[in-house]
Structure formats: C-alpha cells, structure tokens
Symmetry: C2
Subunit: 343 residues, 2 copies
DNA sequence: ATTAGCACTCGCTATTAAAGAGTGCTAACA
DNA sequence: TGTTAGCACTCTTTAATAGCGAGTGCTAAT
C-alpha cells in the first residue's frame, strides 16, 4: 500500500504534468507549497513509486511522468471532484437555450459545447432508436418508378429510404400497402420490424397486393435500422494542439482513426450508465495509446439512450472533464426525459 | 511569349516536381530524355522563366519549384488529358454498382471513391433542393405537445423537424392543417415555401385553425431549407501524408478549415458548369495557400445540382485529377438524369 | 546561340562543447 | 531510523563549427 506521502507526491506529479506536459523533477516538486520535505527525500519516494509502476522516466536522468497505472490510481483514488465555475455552467445551459426539440440536434450541440469547453475532442453517440416504437409508416410516390418510404418513431425520429416500385403498381395499391403496414406494425419496436414484416405482414400482402414479393424486400430494407447510431463530433482538430501529438505518426494514426466511425464506435460502445474512464492502453487501440476516453451515458427515464465522450491526451484534466460530462449528461437526461417521456 | 524550349522546360520541371516534391535543378533536368541541351543552357532558360514568374527558388542556390502562375500556365496550356486506366474505370463504376436510389448516397460514394483514387481530399456538394418542387407535407403527432413535420420533394428529398403543438390542438385540426398546406403548397418550389406560407396560407389558417399564430411560425421554420446543401467528404486526413504539410502550423490551419463547413462551402460555392480550377492563392484563403481545388459540377438534365471537388497540394496531379473528375461528374449526371428526370 | 568551367551560396549533416536539469548514492545528521 | 546535504554521473538541449553536395550565375571559349 502507498503511504500518505507517496500519495501526495503522486498527486502533485500528476497535477503538475497535466498542466505542464513536462517531466517533473524532484527539485521543482520540493519547491511546491504542499511539499515540505527535501528533494532527496522526494527522489527516494519517486524511486519507489517508479518501482511500483505509477510513474516513469523518459530517459535515465529525466524527471518522472505518470504511467497509465499512475493515472488509473489517480482517477480511482486521488481525484477531487471539481466544481464548475459560473462561466462553464452558462455555456452548458446554452445547449438547451435554443428551442430545439430534436434529440439529435441537442446531442450534437452537446458535443460541440463540450469540445469548446475542454479543448479536447468530443464524441456523442446519438440516441438509440432500437427500442423506439413505430409511430407511423408513410409511403410517398415520387414518380412512376420510385417512392419514398418514411418511418416515424415515438421519439420523433424520422428515417426514410427510396425504393423502386413494380411497374404495375398504382396509387391505390400503394395506399393499401401503407395501411396494411401501419395496421400491423404501429407500436412495434423498431428493432422487431424487419422480423415482423416477413413473418406477419408478408401473408397479408400476398393477399392484397400484386407483385408483393417485389416490394416486400424494398420495404423490409427500408425499415432496417442502421448498424449503429449516429456519431457526432466536436473539436476534431483540437488534438493537433496537444504537445504530445506534435509527432506526425501519432497525429496521423489518431486522426485517421477518428475519421473511421467504426473504430470510434467500437471504443465507446460498451459503457455502463454513469461515468466510464479508459486510460491509454486500456482502450486497446494503438492509435489511442496516448489518449484517454471518458464517457457518460444519457437516458430518457430509465432507458439508456446514448453517450457523450471526451477524447483527450492521457494527460488530460480528468477532474474538470468528469465534472463537465457528469453535469451535461445529467442535464441531458433530465431535459430529454421531460421532453419525451410524456408519450 | 514563351519559346518552345521554355515551355518544354517548364513542363518538365512541373512534372518532375509533382512527383518528387523536391526543387528541380538544371543538372538533373539535363539528364532527362526529353532534354537535349546542357545544364548551362537550362540555367539560362530557368533564369528567364523565373523572371517571368513561372518558377521560383526556395533559397538563393536551390533548384526551382513552380509558382502559382507556373501551375496556372501549365494547367491552361501544357496539360495533356490523361486517359483513365481500366482499374480506375472499374472503381468509378463501383459508385453506381449498389442499387442505391438516393441522390445523397450516390454523391457521398463519389466523394469516397474519388479520395481513394487520388489520395487527396474529396469534397462533394450535395444536390440542391432549392428548386425542387414540394411533393407532400405530412404532420405526424408524437405526443400531446409535439409533432413532426415532414416534407418530401419531387426528387425524393426528405426533411423533417419537430415542433411544439399548442395545447388546444387536437388530431382533427392537425389533419386539417396538413390538408391546407398540401392543397396550397404542393408543386411549389422549396425555395418559395416560406414566403407563400406567410402570404397565402396564413389567411386560410386563421379561418380554419385555432391558435393559428402559434403554429404558423413553427411550420414556416420547418419548411426553411438549410442555408447550404450538405457537404460530403472523403479522405479528410489524406493531406497529412503530403510532404508539404509536414509542418504543424500548415496542417493545423488546413484541417481546421476543413472542419468548418462554412469556409469549405465558400470555397466551392461559385462554379460554372464543367471543370473549375483554383490554384494556391487563387482560392483567397490563407489555409489554402499551398492547395489547389478542382471542381466539377453535376446536374440532372440541364439543371445544375451540385459539385464534386478535389482538394490537394498545389503540387497535385492535375491531369489525372481532372480526368477523374470529368469522368465521374459525367457519369453522375447521366445516371442521375436517368433516375430522376422521369418525374 | 550554346556550353564548359569555376567561384560562390546555401542547406544539410556530423561533430564537438558547454550548460542545465535531473538522478542515485553515500555519508552525515536529528 | 528517517531525512537531508552533497556530489558524481547521465542525458538532453543548444550553439558553434566545419565539410559536403547540390545548385546557381557569370565568364569565356566554341
């Protein structure tokens, strides 16, 4: 177990490094207010902390920098929650200031504001529609060969897709089709639509619609939900300003990863409700070796909807970021719950 | 006027520099097959070309690199169109291989493929809906306080917006509202909707709908088209691999600009049909000082819809990029015309 | 008009030296 | 026995220097 003095030193090293991005030496530590013992003592303690894996040297005679393990300990045991100042609170509130009623826009705004407040990169995972219930399906013919199918869910999410019409299909039949679909599917979860179409609706269609097999697939396709929810970003280029990324290989692999939605999705997918923190290599992604990812989830009522994350260097301001994410995700949850729970 | 020999030298310098990214010296030029005179002669010619502003030195005793003016001359007078090889053609055709009927998806695919083929950044400006005609407006109530308004245009474009309902409004009235809007507005250009609502529909609404003033704004807002069409990107990070951007200030200002849709839109907005080329400072944007932008427009029939662009270093493979853009934009136009002209 | 030759410039690389920050160890101290 | 002063040593950073090579511009010869 670590002694109080070791904890103090670890904490001061991390706090210093978070702000300076420079290895911290014993002499500069001994000059700090909080620390009342000599640099020699500190050197001994640092040597022990290094042996335990909490800090590292960049070369034999350099100061120390925190290791992933060091940050992990810091985050788990040493972090004092930081109160947001008035300015931050104002800015957060501005997310909801405009009269916006669309979930997606609110989430997107959150990402933008979050990145502006932190100067890191913000990633928001859009609200899941999987569990939404189908409100309405509409089919709007565009011309003789094509039509647009539109589905609306009970949270106001709209999805649309164009598809080809069979040659023989007329307007009346199209209307009949829409009616059948609505009768049968309204109220079902979006996730189950595809299944239900083939199992329950196919039969009905065969009875009432010509060319039903041609149109069945098109409709079923249209109702497929995307493989993952939308991602929204804020401050994608902020990492270019972080000194640890003044290295072309690093910045390139990071930026390239950020552009690939799949890998980002992989990173932020599995999160329990509340705050989740992944430090450096804990992310299992070489491009993220020097990054930490902090994620908070938001919900409507008890139903978990999506998440907002901050991607920053491992040397990030954990305390501030956690406070911000916590605050915003709570706000988001309460505003969305108020707006959409009254279905 | 330039002599034939000067033209030859300019051309060889540019071709060389495009591939090597290194200043070109007289001795290395004299070794080329195409060139049959001595390095001393070349030095004299280069001196003249420099005086005329077509090439520059990076320092007193360096080789020469093309100037913006040099590239401009090259593009206007020396460029020989390059025929696409079979592999490129295959890849381009793959844009249309999937059965996709949505304009936006096709355009998005084009940007992706284009960036993969060139290793530069591709930017596609989505189809303009301004001149589309309104096909249908639908209003779907979500709960007591909110509803979604959905508009569909004659090209199958769908736009939706949530809005608040006045407390007193019931379903019947909502339906009446939708009917009025459709009666009055179907067939009008999207651009004119907002105007017409206030001028023609407001009166009708007042007669038939309670709380009409409350809902008028919401509806009008919903029908506002976005200030500019959607932008699609491909290969956003490709510029990180270009040697001219191995400089942190440069890459940062470029990437930051790419993230700001407004400035990108400003760059590619005004283009005549066909191929447009902006070299370096011609773009009037400091972040673009070392970049060229080549844009091709696509249309449906004769109506210009949008554009696809390549953003690369001024030292880009103009010939290849132009051929690709020309080819893709023609394909795009013909496929889209076939798909959507039959309204 | 063209070219060979040469002096000169500049950037790049390697080497060296000196300064500075920091460590680890030892021995003295409270 | 825990703490600290002192010191030798390591490593990075910076600056200065020198030599090399690629390239130019000019001059004089062809």
């Amino acid at each position: 177990m670590l002694t109080d003095r070791q904890l103090l030193i670890l904490q001061v090293i991390i706090n210093d490094f978070i702000h300076s991005a420079q290895p911290v030496g014993s002499r500069s530590l001994s000059k700090k207010e909080e620390i009342s013992f000599s640099s020699a003592t500190i050197r001994n303690e640092m040597s022990d902390l290094e042996e335990l894996g909490f800090i590292e040297k960049t070369h034999t005679s350099s100061g120390r920098i925190p290791s992933d393990k060091g940050y992990r300990y810091y985050v788990d045991h040493l972090l004092s929650p930081q109160k947001l100042d008035q300015q931050d609170v104002y800015k957060v509130k501005s997310i909801f200031a405009e009269r916006i009623y669309e979930l997606e826009k609110i989430v997107q705004n959150s990402a933008r504001i979050l990145s502006e407040l932190t100067n890191y990169t913000a990633i928001a995972l859009g609200p899941a529609v999987r569990d939404n219930k189908l409100k309405k399906i509409q089919i709007v013919p565009i011309n003789k060969q094509t039509a647009v199918a539109i589905i609306v869910t009970d949270s106001g999410y709209v999805q649309n897709r164009m598809f080809q019409l069979p040659e023989t299909m007329d307007l009346g039949e199209l209307e009949k089709l829409a009616n059948i679909l609505n009768d049968r599917l309204a109220g079902s979860s979006i996730e189950s639509l595809n299944d239900k179409i083939y199992k329950e609706v196919a039969l009905l269609l065969r009875q009432h619609i010509n060319n039903y097999d041609f149109i069945l697939h098109s409709i079923a396709d249209t109702l497929l939900i995307p493989s993952h929810e939308k991602l929204f970003f804020g401050g994608k280029t902020n990492m270019l300003s972080q000194p640890e990324f003044h290295d072309f290989e690093k910045i390139k692999s990071l930026m390239t990863m950020i552009e690939q939605e799949d890998s980002i999705y992989e990173l932020i997918r599995k999160n329990q409700s509340g705050i989740n923190i992944k430090i450096g290599r804990e992310n299992n992604n070489t491009a993220m070796e020097n990054c930490s990812l902090i994620t908070a989830t938001y919900s409507i009522g008890t139903e978990q909807l999506g998440s907002i994350s901050i991607l920053g260097p491992t040397r990030m301001e954990y305390s501030r970021v956690i406070s911000l994410l916590d605050y915003i995700s709570r706000d988001l949850t309460s505003v969305l719950t108020k707006l959409y729970q009254g279905n």
